[in-house]
Structures are given as structure tokens and as C-alpha cells.
Assembly symmetry: C2
């Protein structure tokens, strides 16, 4: 399929392959006349570099791999979009893989990306502990940055938001709206996102004197279905809290939907908050109050860290960087606006 090679171009231009390579990659001195001849020959033959051959020689592919827990979660797709934007500016490509929230699949994906000689890997680990070995192993072989979520016990760079600070914003806002008790609906505490968010939730609730019934901390997974089920359970107990804090927007969408189905007014009877500010969060009924993550900044930092890691030798890398960006609260209609 790949027909035209540098050899054919060199023949047509009447020069050596070395010269053609020098012209086309812009390295090394070549006289203007020869440059023209080579370029024209390349043009006429429709030459295109064979990136495979180049990669073998340079051991550089100008490709970054990215692994996310779930490509169907809009938050991750928007993160992917941001990363792709940034990479494009650098002339790099993105190789995207979906781990389907399964550490085993994730490990395979990471190995496969490493085998394909990507220049670096951006990963949002599926599991807070089980993802550890594969991530560490990969990080030992090539530059790796964790994004959004992170896995314990590894020594890699990380970029994300300060979940604890975010929850402080959320809780203060709810408190201001009159909430004195709150429930938490998240995924199982097996990933850093829910873990951190729950920690922030619990701490600020305590500081504000808001009551949290241990039975009203419901953990399932990041899905609308789980949000609906959890809300139904809360309603059934007949003891609704003043607010339901959700670990992400999908859950929150499920919660508000179930509330509507059960005739529980939001935010009249109960306030609800999400997290991530996915596009659909404003489509809920009512539109969700949520936490916005600065995706572009996150992507920017991640790519920067990767580039930095590529430049330094593995051995003299300093301690890993942990960059926590500051999220913002987006107030919509699922909470009572504080005056």
C-alpha cells in the first residue's frame, strides 16, 4: 500500500536518499537548487513519510496514549477532547483506549500502548488500588501522567482538581441554602474521585455542623441508573435529608429524575448537587448545580508534564509532581440560591 519511498524520490531527483531525507526533515545543509529538485520530485510522486520506519529509527512516534475508565462517560470524552486539542498544537497524535472500568482490561491497554512505543501515557486509573501494579509498571518504562483520578502507592505525576476544596464550595453553598443534613451518593470507594470527594464532604459537613446519617451514604457506580436507585432508596426510608450530594453528574441526573418520579420537589424539598459539569448537567430537570473542572488547564498541564518527563533521563527525574487545580461551583436550579 505504501508505495513511494524515499529511494524513489532520490532516484527521480538524481540525489542520494540521505539528501532527500535531509531536505524533507529540514535537517542538515542542502543547496537551494537541490532542495527544489527534491521537493518537486516528492510532490510529483506523492511521497509521504512512512512513520513506522521513522519511528523505528528514531524510537519516537509522536504519539501519546490515553486510557480512560469509560469512553461513554461524557466527562472523560470532554477531557479527551481537551487533551487532543493540546496535543494537536504540538504536532502529536492521540491513541485512545477504553478500560471499561476494569483494571484487567486497563492493564492490557497500558501494555499494548507501551508495546506500540507511544512517547508517553495519560491515564485516569479505573481503580484506586488494583490499578496500581499496571500503572507503576508502565510508568517505569515510559513517561506517564495520571489525570483526574489517581492510584495509591505509585510514584508518578498527577494532574486533577482539589476535590476537597470543591466539596467545601458545595457544602457551603448548600448550607447557605438552608441545608442542615445531607446524604452522599457516590461510587464504591475504590477510586480516588469518590474517595476524595467523600472525604471533603464529610469534613465540611462536620465543620458546618450538618448532620450525616451513615445510612445515607450510598455507594454504587457512576451511572444514572445507580443515581435513580439510590434516590428511590432514600425516598423509601421516609427520612429525606435536606440535600443529596452526588459524586458526579450522571448520578445526580439519576437522583433528580427519581425525585421527580416520586414527587419530591428539587430544590424545594431537597437540594441536589452534581460534579463534573458535563454538558447534560444543565439538561436535568431542574438544571444541576455542579462543580466545573477546568479541563483545558488539566489537559495543558498533563501534556506539559509528559513533555518534561520525556526530556529528562529516567534516572534523574525529580520527585513526582502533583498538580491540583482549583475547581469552580456552577450554580443552577437544583439548589436554593443563597442570597
Amino acid at each position: 500500500m505504501q508505495r513511494v519511498t524515499i529511494a524513489q524520490v532520490s532516484e527521480r531527483a538524481g540525489v542520494s536518499t540521505a539528501t532527500v531525507s535531509r531536505v524533507l526533515s529540514g535537517r542538515g545543509p542542502v543547496s537551494a537548487a537541490v532542495q527544489r529538485r527534491v521537493r518537486q520530485a516528492a510532490e510529483e510522486l506523492g511521497y509521504q513519510v512512512n512513520t513506522i520506519a521513522r519511528a523505528l529509527r528514531n524510537s519516537r512516534t509522536d504519539t501519546v496514549g490515553m486510557v480512560v475508565p469509560s469512553i461513554s462517560n461524557p466527562f472523560f470524552t470532554s477531557l479527551v477532547e481537551s487533551v487532543e486539542h493540546v496535543l494537536e498544537r504540538e504536532g502529536k497524535e492521540l491513541f485512545l483506549s477504553d478500560a471499561r472500568s476494569d483494571p484487567a482490561i486497563e492493564a492490557r491497554r497500558l501494555a499494548s500502548l507501551a508495546a506500540r512505543n507511544v512517547d508517553g501515557i495519560i491515564v485516569s486509573p479505573s481503580h484506586g488500588t488494583e490499578s496500581g501494579p499496571a500503572v507503576q509498571e508502565t510508568a517505569d518504562r515510559l513517561p506517564l501522567v495520571q489525570l483526574d483520578r489517581f492510584v495509591g502507592g505509585t510514584n508518578t505525576d498527577w494532574v486533577g482538581v482539589d476535590d476537597v476544596a470543591a466539596m467545601r464550595l458545595v457544602m457551603d453553598h448548600l448550607h447557605e441554602g438552608g441545608a442542615r443534613s445531607a446524604a452522599f451518593v457516590g461510587s464504591l470507594l475504590t477510586n480516588s474521585s469518590t474517595e476524595q470527594r467523600f472525604a471533603g464532604f464529610r469534613r465540611r459537613a462536620e465543620e458546618l455542623g450538618m448532620s450525616v446519617d451513615p445510612d445515607q451514604v450510598l455507594l454504587g457506580d457512576y451511572s444514572v441508573d445507580w443515581g435513580e436507585a439510590a434516590a428511590a432508596r432514600l425516598v423509601d426510608t421516609g427520612d429525606l435529608p435536606d440535600a443529596i450530594v452526588c459524586a458526579d453528574d450522571l448520578i445526580a441526573l439519576g437522583v433528580t429524575r427519581a425525585c421527580r418520579a416520586h414527587g419530591v420537589e428539587v430544590p424545594g424539598r431537597v437540594q441536589v448537587t452534581g460534579y463534573d459539569n458535563i454538558e447534560f448537567s444543565r439538561l436535568g430537570e431542574p438544571a444541576l448545580t455542579t462543580v466545573d473542572q477546568p479541563r483545558d488547564r488539566i489537559a495543558e498541564e498533563a501534556v506539559r508534564l509528559l513533555a518534561a518527563a520525556s526530556r529528562t533521563k529516567e534516572t534523574d527525574r525529580g520527585p513526582s509532581a502533583h498538580i491540583a487545580l482549583v475547581p469552580t461551583l456552577v450554580v443552577r436550579d437544583s439548589t436554593r440560591a443563597g442570597s
Copy 2:
């Protein structure tokens, strides 16, 4: 980074690189004793093939490229998921690119995938005509299948659903629910999806004797925002049709949202339908009646066609295959249940 090579393994096992390669790739006869030695040496050194080198030699990468108009459209991400599933079974990887609905970006992505020697490309072209040259050019160089959308004037395989048949289902259902007039909200007629769906809509409306006001055919883009804007415009004219048929679910979600905002009852005053059956379609208020595309089947067929194309020589490929699968109607609450 890539440390262990076949040469080191061969040295440790006391054989030639040729033998190592034969053992590891399972080709050619090797005595059991040597096999053991080689495998053990490979194991001990933690050898992993360098896929780049292999790809250069074999001119096969076991990688398929996929280009979609927008990775943030849930329909495409679910299509990607299906394709990835199927490819995994075949031991192939997916290289995903986002064209951001821009034929120019799309062309770059296609070229870049081709340069990376993917074994084949699956593309859902962004534009019904402007995507043509790049798609055709790429198809001339390697196996290519169009998915869902297609571009005119090219000679490639295509897999998708029968949009016209789908619209027949939709219109019959609406008619049964009492609709005698209908509006159509889609994207500009610059991609085959809207084009086909609109054609199907118009034809069946005529057959059923439903009236379609030319001013009530509104074309924008595939987004919730456009759906909202279009519905607002329809409401403002004060002359609402009995039904609003949307070219995709995002638009339909926007339409129902705007209806709610304007106090127009769905399906009481106006029935609304979507297309694609994305996960969020059931989260609308009311839940959307929509058309479900058999994504897994589509993915399956696409991969099958690619594989077939790879096996045959370019020159003796037969005429291109066009496979239109049959979609199904998913009836929810945005239409009036028939009978």
C-alpha cells in the same frame, strides 16, 4: 525505553535471532528443547516484541483507525465502543480520531492514520460532499469502510441503517397517535444522515397525507442548543404542528426542553421524536421516543468488510458493498401511544 531485543534473548538462549523469532511467533519448526530454552530466556529478560519493528517488516500493524465527526456525541462514542469490542476479539487495536465536524481536520486525520500504516479505516464522514476527496484518496490507498454516514461520489463499502425505513416507522407511529402535520428539525443537509432522514420524513408524510409547512423544516446542527433554538422559533410562530420530528436525540432533547420551558405539553400538545437512542434519550422530560440503531451489528459488519478488503488485492475488489440494517422504533413518553 524498549530495552530487551530479540538479539539479547537469542544470546541468552544460545541460538540465532531467527530461531527466537520462530519460537515467539509460532512459525516454522523448532525442537521442543530449544523452544523451552528460548521461552525461558525471553521470560527472564522480560522480553516484549517491538511492534514498530514488526510493523515495518510485515507492513501490518494490527491496528484499525476510526474517524468520527464528534467524540462528544454519545451516539458516536457508543458506536466506538461497539467497534472496539469487535476488534478486541480479533486481536486488533483501535486508533480513534475526532474530526470536530470539520472536513479539513478530517482529511488530516485520515492522512495521518494512513501514514501510520493502520490496516484499515472506519470513518463516519463529517460532510456529505466536502469529505469526499479525502475519503476517496484514503480508500485508494487502504481498506476503508464508511459507517453510519456516507459521502457521495466515492466507491467504498458502507454500513448503516436504512434511514428511510426508520422514518417510515416514526411517521406511522406519529400518525397513529393522531398527528396530521409535522415539522422537521435537523442539521444542515450537508451530511447523509440528515439528508436521508429528511427524505424519508418527507416521503412518508406525503404518503400519509400529513402536511409539512416548508417554513417548519429547520436546519442547524446536531446539538441540544440548536434543538432549543428551533423549538423556540416554532413556538414563537404560534402555529405549532402536531409533531416535531428530529434528526437526532440531541436535537430532540433540546426541543422537549424548550417545549417545557414554554409551557407546551409533550406529547399532549405536540409529539416529539428523536433518533439514535443514545443513553440520555430516556432521561429527557418526557423520555424520548426514538429510533434505535443496531450498533453492535453495524460494528460487526464494518469489521468484517474491512477484513475482507484486506484479504483481497486492491485490483480485484468487486463492487463496493452497501449494507443497510433495519432499525427499530423505541416508543417512550414523548409520543402518544397508538391504539
